[in-house]
C-alpha cells in the first residue's frame, strides 16, 4: 500500500506533528514500505476470529478493585513541578478562548 505526501500531511495533522517538507517526503517513503509489508495480513482469512486486545488471565471480575478509601497521592507542587510553565498551582498554556 503506497501512501501519498498528501495523506502523510493529513495524518501529521491528526497526530499533531508539524513535519517539515523533507520529513513528509521521507515519511511517505518509509510508511509505504512498512504498509506494503503489512498488506501481507490480507492473505489471512480472519472471519470468525475474536480480536485479542489484551493478554487476559482468569480472575474474579472485581479482582482489580480496591476499597473506596482516600489514599495519599502526589502533592499539587509535585504534580506541576515538571511543567514548562506553571503558576498558582496550575499548568499554564497559551490562551485558548478569545474574549
Amino acid at each position: 500500500m503506497k501512501i501519498t505526501e498528501q495523506e502523510v500531511q493529513r495524518v501529521a495533522q491528526l497526530a499533531n506533528l508539524a513535519l517539515t517538507g523533507d520529513e513528509v517526503v521521507r515519511m511517505a517513503h518509509d510508511m509505504s514500505g512498512i504498509l506494503t509489508h503489512i498488506d501481507k495480513l490480507n492473505e489471512l482469512d480472519t472471519s470468525g476470529v475474536e480480536p485479542m486486545a489484551q493478554v487476559l488471565y482468569d480472575a474474579a471480575e472485581t479482582a482489580t478493585l480496591r476499597d473506596d478509601v482516600e489514599k495519599p497521592s502526589l502533592s499539587n507542587e509535585e504534580a506541576v513541578a515538571n511543567a514548562p510553565i506553571s503558576g498558582a498551582g496550575y499548568f499554564k498554556v497559551p490562551r485558548v478562548i478569545e474574549r
Partner: protein, 474 residues
C-alpha cells in the same frame, strides 16, 4: 572477575569488601567506560552510596543484607526514578525529574539493591539497535563498531561491560532478548503482568514488560523473584503467586519436552543457524525430548506487531504535548502550535514514524483494515503457542536472525530493521515468558543467543532449561 549476586553476598558477609566500596568501584568503572560505550545517561552516586551504606549498616548490625543487598544495578531510562532524571532517551524529556519511583525500582531498593545510574536506550524504547537515542548510540562492549541491540542497549551494555551486576530493561517486541543476545548475556521477558508496569513510561501498553539482564540465569531468576508480583498500582499486574525461581534451577531437565518451531529454523541461515542448532543438540544431550512444533502464523507476526505497537504508541505519546513534561516549543503562540511544534522539535525520527503509522492505522476508515485485523491475527499467533504448549513444555529457537550488526548499517531502512524482530515479537504478542541465554559466538567473536519460551507463568521451566544449558556449556 565478574561479580554475581551470590559472589557479592558472600564477599559482603565475609567482609572481603563493603557495599560502599563496591558501589564506588561500580560508579568509577561505569563513568570510565562511558566515553567508549555510552551505556549510561545519568549516574546516581548519592542514591547509590546511601543505599550501599544502609546495606553495610544492616550487615554491621548482624541483619541480612537482603536478597539484592549491595548489588550494583543499572536501570533503563524509561523506568521512573524519583528525584533522578529520567529522559526516555528523548530530547523532549532531557530535564524530566520524576515525582515517583516505578514499583520495580521500589522493590529493587527494598531488597538492598544499589542503583548506580540510568541507562541509554532507543527513544521511548522504540528501536532494535539503540541508534535512536537523542543522546547518541550505545556501542556494543563486545565489538565497539557494532550496535548493542535495542531498545534496552544501554542496560545490556552496562552488564556486559561489567559496570553493573544486573540491570532492568523493558521489552515490547524483543527489547530485552535481542540486546542480551547481541551482548552475550542473559535477558528475560517475563509473562505479561508478572512485573508491575507502574512507572514504566508507556510505549505499547498491551505489550510492555519490565525484565532483568544478568551474567547468568540464576541472577535473572533472583531478580525476577524480587520485582515480580501483584501491584495495586498496575491493574494489569497478575495475582499469580511468585514462586522461588532460584529453587527451580535444579538442573533436572531429563524428559522435558522442548519444541523447535519449523517456521523459525527454516528461515534461519549462517552461523546463527549453526549455533542455535548446536544449542538444541546440547539440550538433547541433557535429556530433553526435542520435537518439531509449528507456529504457522510466524510470517505475519511482524506486520501484526507493528500495527498493534504503533497504534498504542500513538495514543500513549499523545501526552507529550508541551503542557506537563518539561519541554515546550518557545515560538508557539497558539495552543495548536504549541502541540505541533513541541512534538516536531522534541521527537526523533523513529518516534515520529511510529506515531504517524499508529495514527494512520487508527484513523477513520482504516481501523477495521489494520488495527482490528491485527488484533485478530494476534489471537491466531497466541493460539499457535497455546497449541504448541499442548505438546511441549518449552520452545527453543533463535532470538535474532543475525548477530550484532555495524552501527549505521541498517538505520536508513526501517522495514528491514523491523523484519529482524521476527523471532521476538510473537512472545510479546502472546504474553508468554521468553528469554535469551548465550549460545556461543561466531567466527568473528559476535555472541548469539538461544531463545527459550514457555507458557504463561511457567518461568520456572524456562529458567530450569536455561540454567541446565548454561551449566553444560560453561
Amino acid at each position: 572477575m565478574t561479580h554475581t549476586i551470590d559472589s557479592i553476598r558472600a564477599g559482603l558477609l565475609k567482609k572481603t569488601f563493603s557495599a560502599e566500596e563496591l558501589a564506588r568501584e561500580a560508579l568509577i568503572d561505569a563513568e570510565a567506560q562511558n566515553p567508549t560505550t555510552n551505556a549510561f545517561l545519568t549516574f546516581s552516586p548519592e542514591r547509590a552510596l546511601k543505599a550501599a551504606r544502609a546495606v553495610d549498616a544492616r550487615i554491621a548490625a548482624g541483619d541480612d543484607p537482603g536478597p539484592l543487598g549491595g548489588i550494583p544495578i543499572a536501570v533503563k531510562d524509561v523506568i521512573l526514578t524519583r528525584g533522578l532524571r529520567t529522559t526516555c532517551a528523548s530530547k523532549l524529556l532531557a530535564d524530566y525529574v520524576p515525582p515517583y519511583d516505578a514499583t520495580a525500582v521500589i522493590r529493587l531498593e527494598q531488597a538492598g539493591g544499589v542503583i548506580i545510574g540510568k541507562t541509554n536506550c532507543d527513544e521511548f524504547a522504540m528501536g532494535s539497535s539503540n541508534e535512536n537515542s537523542a543522546f547518541g548510540p550505545v556501542k556494543n562492549p563486545v565489538a565497539l563498531d557494532r550496535v548493542p541491540g535495542g531498545s534496552s542497549g544501554g542496560s545490556a551494555a552496562a552488564v556486559a561491560q561489567g559496570s553493573a551486576v544486573v540491570s532492568l530493561g523493558s521489552d515490547t517486541g524483543g527489547s530485552i532478548r535481542q540486546p542480551a543476545s547481541f551482548c552475550g548475556i542473559t535477558g528475560v521477558t517475563p509473562t505479561y503482568g508478572r512485573v508491575s508496569r507502574y512507572g514504566l513510561t508507556a510505549f505499547a501498553s498491551s505489550l510492555d514488560h519490565i525484565g532483568p539482564f544478568s551474567h547468568n540465569v540464576r541472577d535473572s531468576a533472583r531478580l525476577l523473584g524480587v520485582i515480580g508480583g501483584r501491584d495495586e498500582m498496575d491493574a494489569t499486574s497478575a495475582f499469580a503467586p511468585v514462586p522461588d525461581y532460584v529453587a527451580a534451577l535444579d538442573g533436572n531437565v531429563r524428559g522435558m519436552k522442548v519444541g523447535v518451531p519449523k517456521e523459525w529454523m527454516d528461515g534461519l541461515a549462517g552461523e546463527t543457524a549453526t549455533l542455535v542448532q548446536a544449542a538444541v543438540d546440547q539440550l538433547t544431550k541433557l535429556g530433553c525430548d526435542i520435537r518439531e512444533v509449528h507456529l504457522p502464523h510466524t510470517a505475519y507476526a511482524v506486520a501484526c506487531y507493528y500495527i498493534v505497537c504503533t497504534a498504542e504508541a500513538s495514543a500513549n505519546l499523545a501526552r507529550f504535548d508541551g503542557v506537563r513534561y518539561t519541554t515546550r516549543a518557545a515560538a508557539a503562540n497558539s495552543i495548536t502550535d504549541m502541540y505541533r511544534m513541541t512534538r516536531e522539535e522534541g521527537f526523533g525520527a523513529e518516534c515520529k514514524r511510529r506515531i504517524m503509522l499508529g495514527t494512520y492505522v487508527l484513523s477513520a476508515g482504516y481501523y477495521d483494515a489494520y488495527y482490528l485485523k491485527a488484533q485478530k491475527v494476534r489471537a491466531l499467533i497466541a493460539q499457535d503457542y497455546a497449541r504448541a504448549f499442548e505438546q511441549v513444555d518449552a520452545i527453543a529457537g533463535p532470538v535474532s536472525p543475525h548477530p550484532a550488526f555495524k552501527l549505521g548499517e541498517k538505520i536508513d531502512d526501517p522495514t528491514s530493521m523491523y523484519l529482524a524482530d521476527i523471532y521476538t515479537v510473537t512472545g510479546d504478542l502472546a504474553g508468554i515468558p521468553c528469554m535469551s541465554v548465550p549460545c556461543g559466538k561466531t567466527a568473528e567473536g559476535l555472541p548469539v543467543g538461544l531463545q527459550i519460551l514457555t507458557n504463561h507463568f511457567q518461568e520456572e521451566k524456562m529458567f530450569r532449561i536455561a540454567a541446565a544449558y548454561e551449566t553444560a556449556t560453561n
